[in-house]
């Protein structure tokens, strides 16, 4: 292999060397930060929860950094550029979802748990089975999300660094994986958090500059910008400005959209890597402030993507976007090139990479914490293990997860990223959220209810996806090309009509939680329930920040 990174093969725009230099600067800066942060990584609370000493605003920025993945930056801007208003619908679901976390989950979870989602779910139920179920669904969500990011890294490379051959892309995926392992091993949660903060600031500033630039081109007249986008998109025309272009075609696609909307709004508050971030602050008041900061940053960012999406439609045009190597994902980078030439493209490319790195590091630390703390520490060792022993296992796990992610990413390269992210949200909304809400608010809830809800939600989501058109049997009516994961149009075993399983799996998981509970004779542990309820609201006995 002759250094494929250095050979600009596929780019017709930009300068790969500029992109690589800017990206290398980001990596060096974040590595320096991670090594600085690692000096205080002593206890389990340091490694898993950053010593619980981040402030609300810091954590809020880090949450935004964790949440705004490359899929939401490049994906939503591209979806708006091509599908107009229907792309905007994603960002609304992703934003409104935060209110569930703010009002019902963040503070109560911070007050009752230590490191993981499973801490809260197993608080007053039978420890081992519930913890196991919660850990499995945590690992499941992290795996799908991780795969999506790693696969996305491969696709981005084609566009941004001019690496078009598969071997070269695989090397870049491996580099991303190794960097992420380094961040997590060296920096733990503290280092990961700082990487996310740096990335969030860069991302918002980068998108903000582009937004102002685009608006300035249209004398800050949004209506003018929209008009230009319509003029440049003869195929879509006026439909670009109202819903229905992507989802309004048939009754089935309309139902699919409701299903997606449901998973988006209920998924966020069940994403384990988001939940884990609430443990990095000293108390519930700071958890509240973090969510409030996160909502403002995420909301403003999505408003930027609205302008960028229509801006890309107006300035670049749908034909050039569709012809570019990354298709819809290339809308924002192409717009950057049109506006600021290769330097701005380099900056935006580096920011997109930083985005993948930061999200992937956050997922890795969540998955390794869940394995080390829940499965190894509490289930295998029954809590008879020192914090140091657990952290050592967490570090090994991070390496294993990193390697699995690299291999998975290489295989998944080219797969539909949005589908993998939507799958992660659907699992989170079905398997995690019902049990979180039931155990916080329903006195009678018991072990069987939790197990039925978690396993039922997880299994139904995955089964429905496997037998949906996403995996087999979706054919483009015009080109007769397969739109499914299995590209052989002869293989078709789908029977579930929708791409998104949420409309079935989420109500089913709530129902199973209720049904399992009322059919079980397990008595309510009144003392543990009292402790959980009192602690969740008052913060008594909550884990304190680590003082160094």
């Amino acid at each position: 292999m002759t250094a494929p990174l250095m050979l600009p093969l596929a780019t017709d725009i930009g300068n790969p060397t500029v992109n690589i230099v800017i990206f290398a600067l980001f990596v060096l800066a974040t590595l320096a930060i991670v090594f600085r942060a690692s000096r205080n990584n002593k206890t389990a609370a340091d490694f898993y929860a950053g010593g619980r000493s981040f402030t609300g605003p810091q954590n809020g920025i880090a949450i935004a950094g964790d949440y705004l993945s490359a899929a939401s930056f490049l994906g939503i801007a591209g979806a708006i550029a091509l599908n107009g208003y229907d792309g905007f619908l994603y960002s609304i679901g992703f934003l409104v979802a935060w209110l569930v976390a703010l009002l019902l989950v963040a503070e109560l979870l911070r007050n009752t748990g230590r490191f993981t989602m499973a801490d809260v779910l197993s608080f007053r139920l039978k420890q081992r089975p519930v913890r196991m179920a919660a850990a499995i669904s945590t690992l499941g969500v992290c795996f799908f999300y991780l795969l999506a990011q790693m696969a996305g890294a491969g696709g981005l490379v084609a566009l941004l660094l001019g690496v078009s051959n598969r071997a070269g892309q695989s090397i870049v995926i491996a580099v991303v994986g190794i960097l992420m392992i380094t961040y997590v091993l060296v920096g733990g949660m503290k280092g990961t958090t700082w990487v996310q903060i740096v990335k969030a600031v860069l991302l918002v500033i980068g998108a903000g500059i582009m937004t102002i630039w685009v608006l300035a081109k249209y004398t800050f007249n949004l209506s003018g910008l929209l008009g230009a986008a319509v003029d440049k998109s003869p195929a879509a025309g006026e439909k670009l400005l109202s819903p229905g272009l992507q989802y309004g075609v048939t009754g089935v696609t309309k139902l699919d959209f409701i299903s997606l909307a449901l998973a988006l709004v209920l998924g966020t508050a069940g994403l384990p890597h988001v939940l884990m971030r609430f443990y990095t602050v000293p108390d519930s008041k700071e958890a509240r402030r973090s969510v409030s900061w996160a909502i403002w940053i995420i909301g403003i960012f999505y408003l930027f993507t609205l302008v960028l999406g229509y801006g890309a439609a107006a300035i670049v045009g749908p034909d050039r976007i569709k012809a570019a190597p990354g298709k819809a994902n290339s809308a924002a980078p192409l717009l950057a090139f049109e506006l600021g030439g290769e330097v701005l493209l380099g900056v935006i490319s580096a920011v997109a990479f930083a985005t993948i790195l930061a999200v992937v590091a956050g997922l890795t630390i969540t998955a390794s914490t869940s394995f080390a703390h829940d499965i190894y520490g509490q289930i295998i060792k029954k809590g008879q293990i020192s914090g140091d022993g657990e952290v050592r296992v967490a570090r090994y796990t991070a390496v294993v997860i990193g390697i699995v992610a690299i291999i998975g990413g290489i295989f998944a390269n080219g797969q539909n990223i949005a589908f993998l992210v939507a799958l992660a949200f659907a699992v989170a909304a079905s398997a995690n959220l019902p049990t979180i809400l039931y155990s916080l608010f329903w006195r009678r809830f018991n072990t069987r209810g939790a197990l039925w809800s978690i396993y039922g939600g997880l299994a139904s989501t995955i089964i429905l996806i496997i037998f949906s058109p996403v995996v087999s049997g979706k054919v483009d009516a015009k080109t007769h090309k397969s739109l499914s994961m299995i590209t052989d149009t002869g293989i078709d075993f789908h029977w579930f009509p929708l791409d998104n399983p949420g409309i079935v799996s989420i109500p089913l998981a709530f129902l199973l939680g209720w049904l399992g509970t009322i059919t079980s004779k397990e008595p309510v542990d009144v003392d543990r329930f009292a402790e959980m309820e009192v602690r969740s609201l008052t913060g008594a006995g909550a884990e304190k920040a680590v003082r160094h």
Partner: protein
């Protein structure tokens, strides 16, 4: 539960049954449950309109290119920001002081 210092409240169960805690829980739930219902209903009204009322949503406002759909969408942003601000202000004032008082009673720190 040896860390309960208050004479009357010796277990979490006692705290849970105390009038002060019941009042705090009632106040919390009477705010967050209706608020959750409100934003979910508003979100799904919007989703259903976007899905099934294309004619209404594609109306243009005031001769420009701003559609009803766009205003509704931006309305979701405005309501999310507003609910966030209202809740944070409310919880800072109406939950934190009482929660802190109960916490000190339980943990035995000076009030």
């Amino acid at each position: 539960m040896s860390d309960m210092r208050d004479r009357d409240l010796t277990t979490y169960r006692d705290v849970q049954l105390s009038p002060d805690f019941s009042e705090l829980r009632r106040r919390f739930r009477r705010f967050v449950f209706p608020m959750t219902a409100l934003f979910l209903v508003w979100y799904f009204v919007y989703v259903l309109l976007a899905d099934y009322a294309h004619g209404f949503m594609s109306h243009k406002i005031g001769g420009g290119n701003i559609t009803v759909a766009l205003l509704f969408g931006l309305g979701q942003f405005v309501s999310t920001f507003a609910i966030t601000m209202i809740y944070v202000r409310w919880a800072d004032r109406r939950i934190d002081p009482d929660a802190e008082k109960l916490r000190h009673q339980i943990e035995g720190a000076p009030q």
